[in-house]
Symmetry: C2
Subunit: 343 residues, 2 copies
Amino acid sequence: MKPVDYRSSGVDIQEGDKAIALMKARVRKTFTKDVLSDLGHFGGLFRADFSHMKEPVLVASTDGVGTKLKVASMMGNYGTVGSDLVNHCVNDILVQGAVPLFFMDYIACGRLEALIAADIVSGLAAACSENGCVLLGGETAEMPGFYNEGDYDVAGTIVGLVEKEMIIDGSEIRPGMIVIGLPSNGLHTNGYSLARKVIFETAGLSPSDTHPLLGTGTVGEVLLSVHRSYLRYLEPLLREKLVKGMAHITGGGIPGNLSRVLPEGCGAHIRQLWSVPGIFELIRELGHVDISEMRKAFNMGAGMLLVVDENDKGRVMELLRMSGVEPFIAGEIICGDGITFED
Amino acid sequence: MKPVDYRSSGVDIQEGDKAIALMKARVRKTFTKDVLSDLGHFGGLFRADFSHMKEPVLVASTDGVGTKLKVASMMGNYGTVGSDLVNHCVNDILVQGAVPLFFMDYIACGRLEALIAADIVSGLAAACSENGCVLLGGETAEMPGFYNEGDYDVAGTIVGLVEKEMIIDGSEIRPGMIVIGLPSNGLHTNGYSLARKVIFETAGLSPSDTHPLLGTGTVGEVLLSVHRSYLRYLEPLLREKLVKGMAHITGGGIPGNLSRVLPEGCGAHIRQLWSVPGIFELIRELGHVDISEMRKAFNMGAGMLLVVDENDKGRVMELLRMSGVEPFIAGEIICGDGITFED
């Protein structure tokens, strides 16, 4: 009888070592003087010298890329999903006023290919560097029989920092305040199960197809557009305490996310007058998707919503434009509850 | 044409809401006064008041449960894999001298069943409470087409704290020091691809089978034995600075993990005289697995190794026994490099 070894059970430790070797240089580029460990330790070490702060608070958030990974796998392009994930997580803690300290990744697959894992980590490391965030560590798991060939799951946890008195929780939001939107870069990281069903199954398009609604990019390219980080646009506003509430528009859309920051007695009336990217029109047309269903699944072109005082509107719009983004008025806070839409 | 909606694409937001409702009470039980957020916020808030420390350092580690999850799925028992994961992560930062602050989980599946997700979170929360760790947040992702029916992937990130001068990195290890082992509770969370192949494929056993080597438990029960946390046994030793190096024996076994903490010029000679749990004998027999292959894939009954000074051996053994664990001498540090074994 042939002895069973680890490799024949589907786990290839050598390919794992190769992946780690490829990743190391990319990960180390994100390191700062606050990192006290090198790669290969059991845990990553990060100096927690918060003595310049009055009441430091850590803010942590975990997320995955979701089935956008299926599009990456269809396209054979794994270089950007890591950036999607980091930017998503950066935004998730940014809405509470926090800036990132470090990120930990988790990559899982059925059969590890070192080059693909290294591509994913490249995207993670690139976005970490852009957001001033250390890629402190992670885990790459080979789980035979768990994932289809070519499928990778990518998730991660971000840990950031905020001064307690600077935490934004929406409690100062009042009727009459203005809702300002920042443009998304497409679907970001949400609604891909619906989008894939409509585009690839119902309509039978392929990733290399083009469509007048999408401009010059292919369907696959537009679907892989990288989730935008709003950190550099919003940092100046946070320093001046100009934001009363923020909602990162992810799964659940505007109704599901803006409502999370509205205090009792406050609703929002949204005037969807901004320019909705063509990919959303395409999905709506091809799938005959109801507009209310679209709004629950997608960001519809508004990746981040801010609530600001009417008196600060001019200053906020000016600071945002100076930071390199084109904001739009998305609606206003009203007495009541829930989110209503006006086309 | 029938309009496409989110539910028909395989994502059921209502089932997700039900899962969250079931999890909430269990997660809140782990909360301490340092938690400043409730569930449902974008990120979890944790007070970082480290003013009682000289040079606080955060230690972070990410891991998954691996294909032990396949056994959980075969058994229809998802109540303990969460504890496996938390205890694994607790041990991973413990070897650097850190105690846990908080944990963030990631659960992914093809079709979410609220009761299963809640079971997984129960295990996470129970182990968090036992280890004095807050379950600060997490993500539950439904990814149609990514996972087989009944398969759940469970991963997470732990963040802990250590005083910089108390970090254990193995640099003080010298030839002549003693290697002390602490018993594992079985496979813990590693080697399951090999174990499953041997037990269920090669030998054709089923989870409900028994075997003389396993005592009274079934194959499935023994395979699901919970990964042991060594925190409470080792805290007294850490306070007295009695440990020069520690290795959590996970994937790679003793050769792969003990070598990670040995400084240049130091090797280890292991005398495997301790009692090896029956499950390892079973796998070796049924799969005709080579002993060196066994040692690379499994902990072989030693879940944690400590390196201590010869002069401290008596005190260390005494403290360990007082804490409720039965330690054993596993070997010694020698001049040279690499890990050698003597049966």
